[in-house]
């Protein structure tokens, strides 16, 4: 027995200083292999007395457990060490750049159109569209602006034929005409889109964007118009309070007509919307003229309502501090990257209009 104990102590010593996995495995087979030292001791059990056997077997099992335990701990120890060593060698410089990121952007005009659509969607408006090329009738005549009307001079029109029959729409109002002609009241639409005037300087571009609004029903009055625009402007500029002023004006297709100014001030060279004592004109609106309703087969004694037209580019410039209208359409990579919006920034009510 003492022999075995000695063997055990020797091996325990050996194992505790051993660091090579192969040598540990060799020790393992030396002890527990087919002709291993411990294995052989177990074989001897058969040839001794029952009394002795019981005692010896128990001791032997204890020694076996102790050695096996020591071996497996050792193996694990060495393996862990090896893995750690391997991982250490594999270490990379994670501050190296990632694979090239390609970042796309949504143009501010598109973003603002989506913001506007989202706001009006909340109060039940749907989106309509119309063609960029219009006939003279839809753009002017049906909108109560006959040929000899001086109001036509305010629209520098691009024409596509010498008879001035075909033109690029000068405003989005012809969508009103198209919408009402193809349907039956009530109507509750907005129509964003491209518009054109042959006008080009620092503050005018030959192409720009407008959004038209139209709400026709049985009892829609100027109070509703005011309420709708008040709601829109507050939502759009994401402010709690807005200073707004309705001022009488004239558009042939609305009566009474109004222009809407919002209050602003210049603070540290930046424009602050909703405060201050300066006024900025941002849109035109009014009650749809009975002549227009007649032209689109809507009975003005039964139905009435309002229409408005807002310059989209200008709203975007005000909200996002863009100074130059012309830059919207010049496709400068730097400008698009700077003023563009992330494609995941979809304006919505529940997630907020803008980040």
């Amino acid at each position: 027995m003492s022999d075995i104990k000695k063997i055990k102590d020797d091996y325990i010593d050996k194992l505790s200083t051993e660091n090579n996995i192969e040598k540990v495995n060799y020790i393992k087979s030396e002890l527990f292999g087919k002709n291993g030292i411990i294995s052989n001791e177990f074989k001897k059990l058969g040839s001794i007395s029952v009394e002795e056997r019981k005692k010896l077997a128990s001791d032997l099992n204890n020694i076996k457990d102790e050695l096996q335990n020591k071996i497996s701990i050792k193996i694990q120890e060495i393996e862990t060490k090896e893995i750690n060593l391997k991982l250490e060698k594999e270490k990379i410089d994670v501050t190296l750049p990632e694979r090239n990121i390609e970042i796309g952007k949504i143009h501010p005009v598109s973003q603002v159109i989506d913001e506007i659509s989202s706001i009006f969607s909340e109060i039940g408006f749907s989106v309509e569209e119309g063609p960029d090329v219009e006939n003279e009738y839809n753009n002017f005549t049906a909108l109560n602006t006959p040929d000899n009307h001086p109001a036509r001079d305010m629209h520098d029109t691009f024409y596509l034929d010498n008879n001035k029959e075909l033109l690029l729409r000068t405003h989005t109002s012809p969508v009103q005409v198209r919408t009402m002609l193809k349907g039956k009241p009530p109507f509750k639409i907005i129509a964003p889109g491209r518009t054109y005037r042959s006008d080009s300087d620092q503050t005018h571009a030959p192409m720009f964007h407008q959004v038209e609004g139209l709400h026709i029903d049985k009892n829609i009055n100027m109070g509703h118009l005011k309420g709708c625009l008040n709601y829109f402007i507050k939502e759009f500029f994401e402010v709690d309070k807005i200073k707004m002023r309705f001022r009488p004006s004239h558009f042939p297709f609305t009566e009474p007509s109004a222009e809407v100014d919002i209050g602003y001030e210049i603070n540290n060279g930046k424009i602050v919307i909703g405060e201050g004592n300066k006024w900025l004109e941002i849109l035109g609106c009014g009650m749809v003229h009975p002549n227009v309703l007649k032209n689109v087969n809507v009975n003005p004694s039964k139905y009435q309502g309002y229409a408005f037209g807002i310059g989209i580019d200008r709203l975007g410039m005000l909200k996002y501090g863009i100074n130059d209208l012309r830059a919207f359409f010049e496709t400068d990579y730097r400008w698009l990257s700077h003023f563009g919006f992330d494609p995941l920034d979809v304006p919505s009510n529940y997630r907020g209009l803008s980040r």
Binding site: L96, P97, R99, N100, E102, G104, K105, I106, H107, V109, S110, S117, F120, I123, G124, F125, S126, V127, P131, V133, N148, H149, P150, A151, F158, Y159, L160, D161, N162, L166, K188, S198, S200, P206, M207, M222, G223, H224, K226, G227, N230, Y231, F246, R247, P248, S249, H250, P252, P256, E259, M287, F328, E330, T331, D332, Y333, L336, S337, P343, L344
Partner: protein, 802 residues
Amino acid sequence: MKFTVDWLKNHLDTKFNNNQIIDKLTNIGLEVESFESSTSELDTFIVAKIINAKTHPNADRLKLCDVDIGSDKTIEVVCGAPNAKNGLLTVYAPPGSIIPKNQMKLSVSKIRGVTSHGMLCSESELLLSNESEGIIELKNKKYANNIGEKYFKNTSEKVIDLSITPNRPDCLGVRGIARDLSAAGAGKLKINKKSNLKYRGNQNINVTIKKEKAQGCTIFGSCLIKGVTNKESPKWLKDKILSLGQKPISAIVDITNYIMFDLNRPLHAYDADKIDNEIIVRSSSKGESFEALDNKKYILENDMCVISDRSGVLGLGGIIGGTRSGTEYSTKNILLESAYFLPRSIRKTSKQLNIDTDAKFRFERGIDPLSIEEGLIKASELIKQICGGEISNLDVKKIENYKKTIINFDPFLFEKTTGFNVENKELIKILEKLGFNVSKNKKILKLVVPSWRPDITQPIDIVEEIVRIKGYEHINISEPIKTRLKPTLNYYQKLFHFLQRSVASKGYLETVTWSFTDSKINQLFKENDEEIPIVNPISSDLNVLRNSIFPNLIFYLKKNLDRGFKDISLFEIGPSFKGKNPGDQLTVIGGVRAGKVSRLSWNDKERIVDTFDVKKVVIQSLYEAGINKDDIIIDDRTPSYYHPGKSGGVYQNKKEKNAIAYFGEIHPNIIKKLDIKTEGLVIFEICLDYIRESKQKIKDSKSEYKFSDYQKSERDFAFIINKNFKSQELVNIIKSVDNKLIKSVRVFDVFEGENIPEGKKSIAVNVTIQSEEKTLNENDLDNINKQIISSVESKSGAKIRS
């Protein structure tokens, strides 16, 4: 429309101060553009203080002064005055100022090697006295707090500039503006003094208005004023004319202009001695001509309204007079004209001849037809007063009588339209002050519209009058009604938004470019579409509507490349025009990508952009927008601006005529023609209008969730096949062997060259096989393998590679 407050007060008794008047004007729809003094050349001279006067480094007699002019920084001025010293208050003239004495314009200049920004002035230079020894010494007491302010007080009266909407011709005269203000409670309209003018003799130049179909004149009033002495206008009149921003000419011309702006009553004065016998108002014949007062010769078309005598055209009625009968200082006898011309005729003629005058502007908007006599009387009075002379009886010829406009107005319409109520009493008061004649018939008001308001024809016009005078601030805000009539967006509008953001999310910057383009670039992309020229383009390089989304995209791509960007991905979503009629347009996404992928990457191999980069964008975006994967067929028919061998079209159906998308390399000829400097250029386009709306809603397709739990097997095959054989067909042949069992086929290798016969290629595919009913055994799989090989070999002429 410009006028001074003083002028307004000729017509309006008011206690309002200037600011109150300005606010009131804007509140009743007469928008104030500006309210300021007319600028003067003397405005630039400002009070300044010498902070430090030291000797000029190169000249003992000159001084170098640091001058405080009221801004952040001091200015350095070289000065020769002996009295320039520290702390002196004086007058400074910045560069650009005009020195009154010699009318010289100052500029930044170097004086003996030192730059001088402007000048310090002496009294003589400013024509204040003959003192030229030194610069002005201003008294500390008076000017110490005025540094930076104008030295000369601008004494000219402030001018109000109104922007008058086209429906309000009556407010193109000061009296009309005064009337509106009085209706709005800003004062009382003064009553016109009765004229006690004495007439002598008859107007003996015969006037005829010819009765013609196109006659543009319906009333022609006139009088003769004999024995006048034309001269410079008196100061009060000159000031009025100057406040309008116009130049005084002579008393007679200034008086007619004054009446026009005062009463909105255009007049014309002829030198009566230059008229050949009689006045004939008639339509012109093509080819007639005359020299107008703007010193231009006009050649007329048919049917323009002319005032003529026996020798020919004197002038265009209501637009511009002619030089032949113009008044001069020597003019002794005047024929004064006060007429009514039809707006339509005026507008047509002035457009044809491209003439714009103050008279034309007024007649085309509609002049009060009952103001003929008033105009003649007011002007004659002034002429007599200033130039003397005797006035004949008035002669008024007409071919049409004025008809009153009468409107029956139900006051309820006001509340129905505006949402608030105004008492009948107040409503009537407003209308009467505006010049309406009001009588009541039960609840209905019978309104006679004043003759100066041609814009008012129906009840809604009355609502506008009342609400604008009452004030828009009285309109109550109603909370928005949230009722929805139909979904916000339809299928194609949703598709627009999905695809727009889907393409952007793949690294493309969205741009918005003009709908018009340069015909020379458009030419390269227009295929068989007709060119759509713009009759009046903004410039010759934006002269056609774009037939394709690409001309502008390519143009701006080149601009960005020229800016030094190498790797560019741009896209636009917008119209492309197929014809010149409304609706002949398609909504298209166009994308361009230039340069390299993974440029200067430390771990990825950089490569030039290729067709499969854009194919990925197209296909993935279409999937993301909900286009069914299995519906898509790729073909190699593409428009001619694509590389014929490296481009493809995407179709939703074999029979479909129009591709829903194209992708590929741009044709090398285009790169060459447009001189685009880039390593590679690939483009794609998606045409939204050609995409078929899927009948299945997402809620329906989601509910069809099916999958198989049985084991799936993968098998690889390699075929030797003709080089031109399309991989898509090979995949289809394999799929058609057993649509149920073959779940997917992936091409994982394409190889030509070594060991492959000339004209052939090797395609390797990986096929996934899975049953929904059982686990397939070796036997089943062998069977399918054999079927795949034999099917491919017989249908494509391929050979399995062993």
